[in-house]
């Protein structure tokens, strides 16, 4: 196949959607029919003949030394094939890092597939039962008797570190980010404000829990993992490393996925166990996580304490920000390494011009479920901190909170804006395009901010506790380096598009079909989009960090453009018309502006250039191409969140009356899907701001391990989210100007809600901790005797 390559230099500004046929239009999704008619195929729907079922026996102690594991009764139960402990997989690698695979100093904190000598959180896998039936497996798991000698438990990263193992501190690593002269900033400050802030432990809770089915074909020595999500190709790389297999002998397959949010699709102990078991038993092995396990074992996130300081001049202009972060990593460091504290630090200054910055993150292990990335990792946390700081500056200097933000925003003429950190190896940020003050003004106008202030004044006079808040943030997306796509036109004109992307339900198929259809000149509904299959395409970036649309979309654009060129080249010969005069409309090549003139369909071209065709004259057969999109750049979308809340004085309950997400996406592939992403993210953000929290008692017992205790917002608790989607700043680093949209709805939700509640209570700085539960609000009101 032909290889194409894109450069990542500056692209001309792409045309608006009005000049496009399908790209940029709010067309409906092509992937929904099976999903809404019961033909979806999720991990639970995947079955193989003679499969075994795995059930994990989990630690019921938060920290302890394993004295004994007695599986004798379980092993004897009819239908039980085996019970494994760490002894059975002693030579197996711990779950390796994907993101930071060369990380030093933290490898000791990786999680073994089954606990080795120590258990470190309630839910830590200790043994694996393999049985003929999932009920039998669960019955047998109950019969495995654990004897664990309890060890001291650490449940807060603010507490003094304990021991991960004898002689090894549970403070895994301390990370630094800095730039500018921080001492001078604080020395010259007109005012310094110091805040002690906390974001609560919460996470994505997808409708579909995790699932993994391992299949080993001994005849071909081929190992398969089904039920994968998010990053099948990168997981294959990691699995190959852990299992010491070549990539062609291990394939990962994604089916339908019921939500990801960063946590689903990472490699976990269970993924590794089903593969090893499938090889050892020579039978397929299936594991489906139940909800209780999910809430105790899948990645959690967000929990940080920040001791943040800001130095400002007399006009409220930022001179410097200092932050010491206590990052609650949970029991192990999982596949992301220390990505989350790093993202927290590098995105802390947001869309503001900050001359000096110094941050330190203490990554501390605790005896809780391990933490990793959750939608907008590090940004939800840092936007909360930054917003709290800006509100505190406004309160301290008696300035309007919006005005303080205006004064500090990076202006359009400062772009591209580069943030280079002092620390060697820390990647610099280059904000590529945007007009942050312009988006702020647009958002305020659309929200009717000034009228709102007047309206709230009346309501307050009538006794209501109502307030509004604002949060401004930077997003990051489309980090490179490369993705690729394969496109083939069938003889009937249908288009097969094979990508290395992944679909978590976000509308990936539709957006890729739109990009392909636009470049190729076909109906987007004729494009069959394939994703998450490592045996069909060797490389793929998956769907994470708002990468799919930008990177995979770039590759689809490049590849479709190659197929288009090939179609036009042959059509020019067949129609005896100069190529420059030809266009492709609805799958038919014709002379531009000459409907009814000579034409040929793409399907017919495909037929005419099949292998053996005389037309080829040395050229490759098939109307097909394989193209790459390569980039060294990250693109930076940005947004503003605005919210209005009402507080019930007597119960402390908070009602979110209005919420607006204003977001500049560069160029939208499909505004309908983007709106869905922004609204969905916003709802999750409200959960983390108001109700969702993984609470642990002092013994490390998880108290939020059911959906009756872990409170995700429902339709009753969220307003109709208003979306202001703008396309003012296409990325100059992307051929279509695209920026990602997966995380723009959640990023500022914690910050804006805290801001609005402060305003409603009339107590600047009152909110220092998320989630803001009604009980905590009542405590604040009681303090001021406002009963």
């Amino acid at each position: 196949m032909t290889q194409g390559a894109a450069t990542d230099d500056h692209y001309p500004s792409p045309p608006p959607s009005s000049a496009r046929r399908v790209l940029g239009h709010a067309v409906t999704r092509i992937e929904d029919l099976p999903l809404v008619t019961g033909y979806g195929r999720y991990a639970g729907d995947i079955n193989f003949a003679h499969q075994l079922h795995m059930r994990i026996v989990r630690s019921n102690k938060a920290h302890g030394k394993i004295i004994s594991i007695d599986a004798s009764a379980a092993t004897k139960m009819p239908g039980v094939v085996a019970v494994w402990t760490n002894d059975d997989i002693a030579d197996l690698s711990p779950i390796d890092f994907r993101a930071d695979k060369n990380a030093t100093g933290i490898r000791e904190f990786r999680q073994p597939a089954l606990a080795n000598t120590y258990v470190r959180y309630i839910g830590d896998p200790v043994a694996a039962v393999f049985a003929e039936d999932p009920y039998v497996a669960e019955d047998a798991a109950e019969q495995v008797v654990l004897e664990i000698e309890e060890l001291p438990v650490v449940v807060s990263a603010s507490d003094p570190p304990g021991e991960f193992e004898p002689g090894r501190s549970s403070e895994a690593i301390v990370l630094h980010h800095s730039f500018g002269d921080i001492d001078a900033a604080f020395r010259n400050a007109h005012a310094v404000i110091e805040l002690d802030l906390k974001t609560g432990r919460h996470s994505g809770v997808p409708l579909e829990t995790r699932g993994a089915i391992g299949v080993y074909d001994a005849a071909k020595d081929l190992l398969e993992l089904h039920g994968a999500a998010k990053i099948p190709h990168r997981n294959r790389e990691t699995l190959c490393r852990m299992l010491n297999r070549g990539p062609s002998s291990l394939h990962v397959h994604e089916s339908h996925v019921g939500g990801g949010f960063g946590i689903r699709g990472e490699l976990y102990p269970e993924d590794l166990l089903v593969l090893v078991a499938a090889m050892r038993f020579k039978r397929p092995v299936k594991w489906i996580e139940d909800r209780h396990e999910h809430l105790m074992c899948a990645n959690q996130g967000r929990e940080q304490r920040h001791l943040a300081r800001i130095a400002v001049d007399k006009d409220g202009r930022i001179l410097g920000i200092e932050d010491e972060i206590f990052h609650d990593q949970g029991a192990y460091i999982r596949t992301h390494g220390v990505n989350v504290p790093n993202r927290t630090m590098c995105m802390m200054t947001g869309a503001y011009h900050v001359p000096a910055y110094w941050a330190k993150a203490r990554v501390r292990l605790t005896n809780k479920t391990p933490a990793a990335t959750y939608r907008a990792p590090g940004r939800y946390e840092s936007t909360f901190v930054r917003s709290r700081l800006m509100d505190a500056v406004a309160a301290k200097l008696g300035l309007d909170p919006v005005e303080v933000r205006r004064r500090n925003l990076i202006t359009a003429d400062q772009l591209p804006y580069v943030i280079a950190f002092n620390e060697p190896g820390v990647e610099e940020l280059e904000f590529d395009s945007g007009d942050y003050p312009a988006l702020l003004e647009k958002a305020l106008k659309a929200f009717r901010w000034d009228e709102l202030q007047a309206d709230m004044k009346h309501r307050r006079a009538a006794g209501e506790l109502v307030g509004a808040g604002i949060a401004i943030f930077m997003e990051e997306s489309g980090r490179g380096p490369s993705d690729n796509a394969k496109i083939k036109v069938d003889p009937d004109g249908a288009v097969e598009l094979i990508t290395g992307g992944a679909s978590l339900g976000q509308g990936f198929e539709t957006s890729m079909a739109q990009i392909c259809a636009e470049a190729l000149g076909v109906d987007y509904r004729r494009v069959r989009v394939i994703h998450g299959q490592t045996d069909l395409i060797d490389h793929g970036i998956g769907a994470h960090a708002a990468r799919a649309t930008v990177l995979t979309g770039g590759a689809v654009h490049v590849t479709a453009t190659m197929v288009r060129a090939k179609a036009i080249e042959f059509a020019a010969e067949l129609l005896q018309t100069p190529a420059a005069e030809l266009d492709i409309v609805d799958g038919t090549v014709m002379r531009r502006g000459d409907e009814g003139g000579p034409s040929i369909s793409l399907g017919d071209i495909a037929k005419r250039i099949a292998p053996g065709s005389k037309l080829l004259r040395g050229r490759d057969p098939q109307l097909a191409a394989h193209g790459w999109y390569n980039t060294d750049h990250t693109v930076f979308p940005y947004g503003v969140h605005l919210a209005v809340v009402r507080v019930d004085r007597e119960t402390g309950k908070i009602a979110v009356e209005r919420f607006m997400v204003a977001y500049d996406v560069g160029r939208a592939v499909n505004p309908l899907l983007i709106e869905g992403q922004l609204v969905g993210g916003c709802v999750q953000g409200l959960g983390g701001a108001l109700s969702e929290e993984f609470v642990y008692d002092e013994t490390g017992e998880p108290l939020s391990a059911t959906l009756a205790d872990y409170l995700m917002p429902t339709l009753h608790e969220v307003p109709d989210v208003e979306v202001l989607l703008t396309e003012d700043a296409p990325s100059p680093h992307h051929p279509l100007g695209l920026k990602g949209a997966g995380e723009g709805g959640i990023n500022g939700a914690g910050g804006v809600i805290a801001s609005a509640i402060d305003d409603a209570l009339g107590m600047p700085g009152a909110i220092t901790r998320l989630p803001v539960t009604p009980q905590r609000v009542r405590e604040l009101l009681r303090k001021t005797a406002q009963q």
Binding site: P134, E142, R291, E650, T651, G652, L711, H716, T773, E779
Partner: protein, 285 residues
């Protein structure tokens, strides 16, 4: 979250049901009606009954009737049956109000009134209604029938005086006098969640003053009960804001609050005070 193995029984008559229950109760046999509490508990393996006696096939238990001034609610009557008033007058109205706070619609189409009363969750809306109105519980076993007054029925968190071989066949509520005013309010974190506290109130007006006042509080203590201190603050007084607030303060002071990580004793009292006053307000409206 797969239940442990159990044996399933599906009697077709009440006679057969109590016979089976007598047989299997000593061997951890449990009654299955709507299953909206029992089945999740079984999925978590917090309960591992060896036998389930499914009473859904017993037609006579699906009835609602009014007999001798009492509404009789059979063991298989679903929550959703109360969406529209099941009887004329204030009782039907009260039940139709309360049902809107019980979980969510799909649960209401399966879960039963009597199942909630048998399960006796502290935050059960129906238990609060039964306690407030001094309802009665009919329990049937092979040994015969007994009628248990609400005040004698509840024994603790999810604990009642029902014997293991007894089937709760119906709950009886007094049909309230036509001039009774009724009010209900509850507080939960989200719509449909277990309430952190709730109040059911009823009273009549005689010569401009409140009479026969009842104030029942649920979700705040191990089981719902009438709060006589709050009732005393109402009887003989005009239904005004000051009196309502005094009764609400009395209710908050009288309870011995349950505590958990999201609800301190002080906060629970705040909620009881607010819900009591709001229930009184809604009764007066």
């Amino acid at each position: 979250m797969k239940p442990a193995i159990f044996r399933y029984h599906a009697p077709k008559t009440l006679h057969e049901a109590v016979a089976v229950l007598a047989d299997v109760a000593p061997d951890d046999g449990r009654v299955l009606a709507g299953g909206q509490s029992l089945v999740p508990i079984m999925a978590f393996r917090l309960a591992k009954p060896a036998h389930l006696v499914d009473i859904n096939g017993i037609k006579e238990l699906a009835q609602i009737t009014a007999v001798d001034g009492k509404l009789r609610i059979g063991a298989c009557v679903r929550h959703a049956a109360f969406y529209e008033p099941v009887c004329d007058g204030p009782l039907g109205k009260l039940l139709a109000t309360v049902v809107r706070s019980i979980a969510h619609h799909p649960i209401r189409t399966r879960g039963t009134f009597c199942g909630s009363v048998a399960h006796a969750d502290p935050a059960s809306e129906w238990c609060t209604v039964v306690a407030t109105l001094d309802g009665e519980v009919a329990a049937q076993s092979k040994r015969g029938q007994r009628i248990i007054a609400a005040k004698d029925y509840f024994a603790g968190i999810m604990t009642t005086v029902l014997e293991e071989d007894e089937l709760l066949t119906e709950v009886r509520l007094p049909l309230l006098p036509a001039d009774t005013r009724v009010g209900f309010q509850e507080f939960s974190r989200r719509a449909g969640d277990f309430a952190l506290s709730m109040a059911v109130v009823t009273y009549r007006i005689e010569n401009g003053k409140m009479a026969d006042a009842r104030v029942g509080i649920g979700g705040a203590e191990p089981y719902a009960r009438r709060i006589v201190e709050a009732e005393a603050a109402l009887d003989g007084k005009a239904p005004d804001a000051e009196t309502f607030q005094a009764a609400a303060v009395a209710a908050a002071a009288a309870i011995d609050p349950l505590e958990d990580f999201n609800t301190s004793a002080e906060y629970r009292r705040d909620l009881v005070r607010a819900m009591t006053r709001r229930a009184l307000d809604s009764a007066a409206a």
